[in-house]
């Protein structure tokens, strides 16, 4: 069972709206990640965090922003949604220790911007 939770699972919303995708994990993991995945395609890292008050941009440029005020919480925000933001967004976490650690994923938020 997942110890990392994403809400909402699905969101259909109009252009120009401000959106926040929530991600929470109960495993006490220091590292957290946001990926963007189009249907049937690979995952692209858009944001990651080493821990509280740490945020970094990933390999794929994104207009979204993230914050990490608490260890367990890593929300992603789009200030003004556009149709090009339509995609699936996956949150993941991993423990701090070492480099050889698997990532734990939430079930994702499927976002559709009309």
């Amino acid at each position: 069972e997942a110890d990392i939770y994403q809400t909402p699972r699905y969101l259909v919303i109009g252009t120009g709206k401000k959106i926040t995708l929530e991600c929470s994990q109960t495993m006490g993991h220091d590292k957290m990640y946001w990926y963007q995945q189009d249907p049937g395609m690979e995952l692209h890292l858009i944001h990651y965090s080493y821990g509280v008050n740490s945020t970094e941009k990933g390999d794929l440029s994104s207009e979204s922003t993230v914050s990490r005020i608490r260890t367990e919480h890593f929300p992603l925000t789009l200030e003004s949604a556009r149709p090009s933001h339509t995609s699936q967004y996956l949150c993941a976490s991993s423990p701090r220790s070492g480099g050889n650690q698997p990532q734990h994923f939430g079930d994702g938020t499927r976002l559709s911007i009309l």
């Binding site: 997942a2 049937g40 890292l45 993941a92 480099g99 698997p102 990532q103």
Partner: protein, 111 residues
Amino acid sequence: SQQGEEDPQALSIQEGENATMNCSYKTSINNLQWYRQNSGRGLVHLILIRSNEREKHSGRLRVTLDTSKKSSSLLITASRAADTASYFCAGGNTGFQKLVFGTGTRLLVSP
């Protein structure tokens, strides 16, 4: 540019048959991980193989790694309909552990 490219892109087999998926990667890695993704869900970690390992087993899964060829394979033996999913390889490095994912193999196992 993705780290891994899986081959084949799609694979359709019957229950009981073995399924083999291959992954090639471009840069140096410290470890290579395989994940499964069921439709509409997040990824689930299957197995991790370190760069100094050549083969690893976990239940019905067998993973090989050839760092000289920058390639890995995932073998699922005696497949079941429940194995139907997309399978991704991902290369990891020491330090922060940023994973770079491939394009995935879609596996369909028919009863």
